[in-house]
Amino acid sequence: SEPASAAKKDSIVIAISGAFSSLDQLDSGNLRSDGSVLGSIYSSLTRLNSSGELVGDLAEKWVATDAHTWTFTLRPGVTYTDGSALDASVVAWNIKRLKDHPDSPGATAQLVKNVAEATATDATTVTITTTTPDIDLPRKVAGIYYLQPKWAETHNTKLESLASGPYEIATYEPQKQVVLTANPKYSGTQPDIKKVTLRVVSDAATRLSGLKSGEIDAGFVIDPSDLNQLKSVKTLRTGAVDSNRVQVLRFNRDNPALADKRVREAINYAIDKDAITKTIYGGLVKPARTEVLSSLYEGYDSVTKAWPFDLKKAKELLAEAGYANGLDLELSVPKGAYVGAELAAPVLQSQLAEAGIKLTLTVTDRQVWLDRTFTDKAADLTWFGSADNSTVATDLLTFYGNTWSQTHGQVPEAYDAAVAAAKAADTKDAQLAQIKTAVTTAADDAYVVYLWPQPQTFAVNSSLNWKIRGDDYIWPAEISTK
């Protein structure tokens, strides 16, 4: 088809790989689909910009009044499309609403767990108190969106919306697509792209052909081998940025073999990450350092080197642990969730075979995989690439602690303690120190198999000015045309 760059675009189509689940953050789970829509139609107090910096959205400024209190000053004049004002009372009402639904399936409940109360002091001031000191609160609230209270009481918030953000929803068809159009009443700068279609295209091949033919202007989660095909397409800009998801294999320590640190270390040694990142990932990423935090997190780089590949050592350790004659393990991999995982898994399998570990792969649908991670039937090894809503290191680290239900078997108490201390730290430095302790504890314990950060692969129409984010959000307001 004709090169799309010829004309200035004001309408684009973005491919999303999974269906939308809900317009209410109480129920919405997926950051890329649901999170992208919510962030476009609703406002939040703060926001992470495309460079990963925390900036204001509703809030003009925010200060910690004391260790337990944060005060946010709101921009005046923000309204919903029906004209009603988005003021401090609305913010307070929404935070209370989230607190009232602690069991909600959405990830947001996690964000307000530590919040004791939110009060509107006046129309433009919100005070949020926390149960423990929480220096990350301004970052956490970046993932909270605010509904119009009266409207919310009379509408199905899962399927309908009343926008206050740069876009409003023209059509919402969760299985098919969401069409966003610029919100004329938006109080900030009008977005460049007036109409954005977020289309559900779950088949990778279809995504690819859509990108090639120009039907789709942007696509993500593209396997590196497929990315090569797209490189030759003139209308597309392709590439990868580091994402916030470090790929790891989590151990199920209920398996006695894996409760043995030597075995965990052996597995780390037995994997030649360098070979894999160079071939399967086409050099888009480098092997991960021995930590689950990616470069997007505060606290990253506290340990400086990747786990080395040393087959001999791996064999020795296994023999030492009593598995000289081999070990049978199962690896559970989600389908279509992580870039390159399904291709890399068989390579891991053959590399581990060298060390005498017979790995059985179970590649299942994302939901099935996820379901299993919570149960006692979790596989010996589970492929993970976790990220939290707002790129808060302490939140991410919590996912690997004893309190988390995806953790099977006992991990060192010291880790939990360090994470808890980091959470409750009242200064950044104190927090970073605790994070370092936690990360080191984990690395020393061969907590997980450290693989590589997921490359945030993308292919976008070259006529679009768009800084691709490392987290999953697709915010069309950040796009402009050349």
Partner: protein, 291 residues
């Protein structure tokens, strides 16, 4: 006897010779594929799962010996195609076995009485009103994907076909003069059944069975394509197509060769089924039995 009927019967006899080449070609195709699959360990040049990061996505070539090329992680496509028919063939065979067993059993039961027939007929209606793939999807994601599960779920889909055919045939035969004659001649129920009814079911079943095999193979690859069949890294035609489908425009050999293997096998099975059905149509009015 209508004017034409005699002629038609005669006309059909003339056709009989014509069916043989098709049957032979069909059986040969099926045999080649089955042998290739069974003898894969002997024939395959490589271990189907041997990853070779040094030669990813290399085009078909003789030196190095990758006549069908390699896939995204450097596995030899020919070896994988050879091994890849296993699941399809096993599922095809065993699920058909289940379907036929159930179908024949129910068919026999239904021939015993009206009530039984009505009950089984209703069950068949229910079975038929949910498309097999929907049921399979549901069952497999609920109960997990195990090879046995796949065999059972695909097997369940097609029993109504055999059931109807067997039931109708038995009804037709029980009322037929030669069965009555057998009873008049003093043969007991069992003898009449074994001698005059059972043998006639075989040709009808031969046709439904070939049909069932082809649909079961198709269903297995469809499920594997959707990710509910064989799990990676197993070599499996449907799964191979799914895994490499993004490469079709580029490293086309990835999806094309397993696709061709599947299509060729299905054509073979259909040719056999077709030839059989022709053959039996020809024998419909008393041709010389040959099975």
């Amino acid at each position: 006897m209508s004017v034409g009927a005699g002629l038609r019967a005669r006309g059909r006899t003339a056709h009989r010779s014509g069916t043989t080449p098709q049957l032979v070609v069909g059986i040969s195709i099926v045999a080649v594929v089955v042998l290739g699959t069974v003898l894969a360990p002997l024939l395959a040049p490589y271990d189907p799962n041997a990853v070779d990061l040094g030669s990813m996505l290399s085009a078909p070539s003789i030196d190095p010996f990758h006549p069908f090329g390699t896939d995204q992680v450097g596995r030899d496509v020919l070896s994988r195609v050879l091994y890849g028919g296993r699941a399809a063939l096993i599922v095809g065979l065993f699920s058909t076995l289940i379907a036929v067993t159930l179908g024949v059993l129910f068919g026999l039961l239904a021939a015993t009485g009206r009530t039984v027939d009505a009950v089984i007929g209703r069950i068949a209606d229910i079975q038929l009103s949910i498309p097999g793939l929907v049921l399979a999807l549901l069952a497999l994601s609920l109960f997990g994907t195990t090879p046995l599960g796949i065999i059972i779920i695909i097997g369940l889909e097609w029993w109504p076909m055999h059931y109807r055919v067997v039931r109708d045939k038995i009804r037709e035969l029980t009322a037929s003069p030669f069965v009555e004659a057998s009873r008049l001649g003093g043969s007991g129920r069992l003898r009449t059944f074994g001698g005059h009814i059972l043998p006639h079911l075989i040709p009808v079943l031969a046709v439904t069975v070939t049909f069932n095999v082809s649909t079961a193979v198709l269903a297995e690859s469809g499920l594997s394509y959707l990710g509910l069949g064989s799990q990676p890294p197993t070599a499996n035609w449907g799964l191979m197509i799914a895994e490499s489908r993004t490469q079709l425009g580029d490293a086309w050999w990835g999806p094309v060769f397993p696709g061709l293997a599947l299509v060729v096998f299905l054509i073979g099975v259909q040719m056999v089924g077709d030839a059989l059905s022709r053959r039996f149509a020809a024998t419909g009015r008393g041709g010389v039995p040959w099975i």
